[in-house]
Amino acid sequence: MAYSNKVIDHYENPRNVGSFDKNDPDVGTGLVGAPACGDVMKLQLKIGDDGVIQDARFKTFGCGSAIASSSLVTEWVKGMSIEDAEKIQNSSIADELNLPPVKIHCSVLAEDAIKAAIADYRRKKGPASETEKAS
C-alpha cells in the first residue's frame, strides 16, 4: 500500500513532536490507543484563558498514517477555539491525507485525541463550573 505524499511529508517531517508538562493547569492531555493495531497517541494542547489553543504537541507510537494524522491536527488546532477544535471530524483528516479505508482508524484516533485533550483541560479548569451546569 502506498502512502500519499502528504502522509510521507508529515511522517518524515513531523510537526510539533514533543511534550508539555502534563501538570500545567493550562495544558490538556489526551491519551488514546487503537487496540486493533496497538498504536498509542498522546496529544497535548496549551490553551489560553480566552479558550484559544496557543500551541500543541504530540507523541505517537504507531504507523505512518497515525503519525501523520496527529502531526496534521497539531497544525490545524493552533489558533482555534476549543469549541471549534472539538468539531474537527476524522473525515476531514482522512480527506486531507488521502488515507485509504484501512487507515481511516488512524484519523479517528487523532479526532479522539483532540476530544480527550479538551476534556482533560476542562476537568482541570472547571470542576466548579461543571457542577454548576449539572445542578
Binding site: 491519551l31 488514546v32 490507543g33 487503537a34 487496540p35 486493533a36 493495531c37 496497538g38 498504536d39 498509542v40 498522546k42 507523541k59 507510537f61 481511516i104 482508524h105 479517528v108 479522539d112
Partner: protein
Amino acid sequence: MAAVRASSSKTYFSLLDLPLRFSVDLADLEQRYREKSRNWHPDRFSRAPASERAAVLLRATELNEAYRTLRSDSKRAEYLLKLHGVDVSDESKKPALDPTFLSDILELREELADARVERDNEKLASIKHRIASEQKQLSERLYAGFVRLEQEDPAALSELTETVFVQRYYQRFADDIAEYEEAQAGSNAVL
C-alpha cells in the same frame, strides 16, 4: 459454549478433531496437524479430477491456517473470542481499558526510544524483559479466563476481551523491538 457449537459446524478446532477449548497440548496439536496434512496432501491427489484436486487444496490451506492459528496463544484466544461474537480486530471497537494502562505503555515506549538514542543496551534488554514478563502474565490470565468462560461465568467474556486487547499492545511493542533488532543485526552485518 452451546451457542458457539450450534452456529459454527466447522471450526479450526474441529478440522483437527479437537474440542473447542483454549487449553491445547502443543505436541498433540502438531501431531494431529502432520497426520491430517499427510492425508490431504495435494500430491496424493495428482490423478484425481480437477474439482477434487481443488477441494483438497482448499482443505490443505484450511489445515495450515488452523494450525497457525491454534498453536499461538494469542491467535487462538482471538479466534475463540470471534467464535463468541467478539471481533478484536474490528477497529471501531473501543474497549474501556484501565486508564493507567495507556500511560504505562506510552512511558515504556518513550524509555525505549531514549534507550535507542543513547544506545543503552542494558536498558534495552531490561525493557525487553519487562515486556516478555507482561506477556507471560497476560498468557496466564488468558488460560484462567477461558477456564471460567468454559464454566459459563458471565463476566469472563468481557474480561478476556480486555486481556486480548492489552496483549495486542504488548505484541505490537514486542514486534517493534524484534524488527529493530533485525535491522540492527542487518546493518552490523554490512559493516
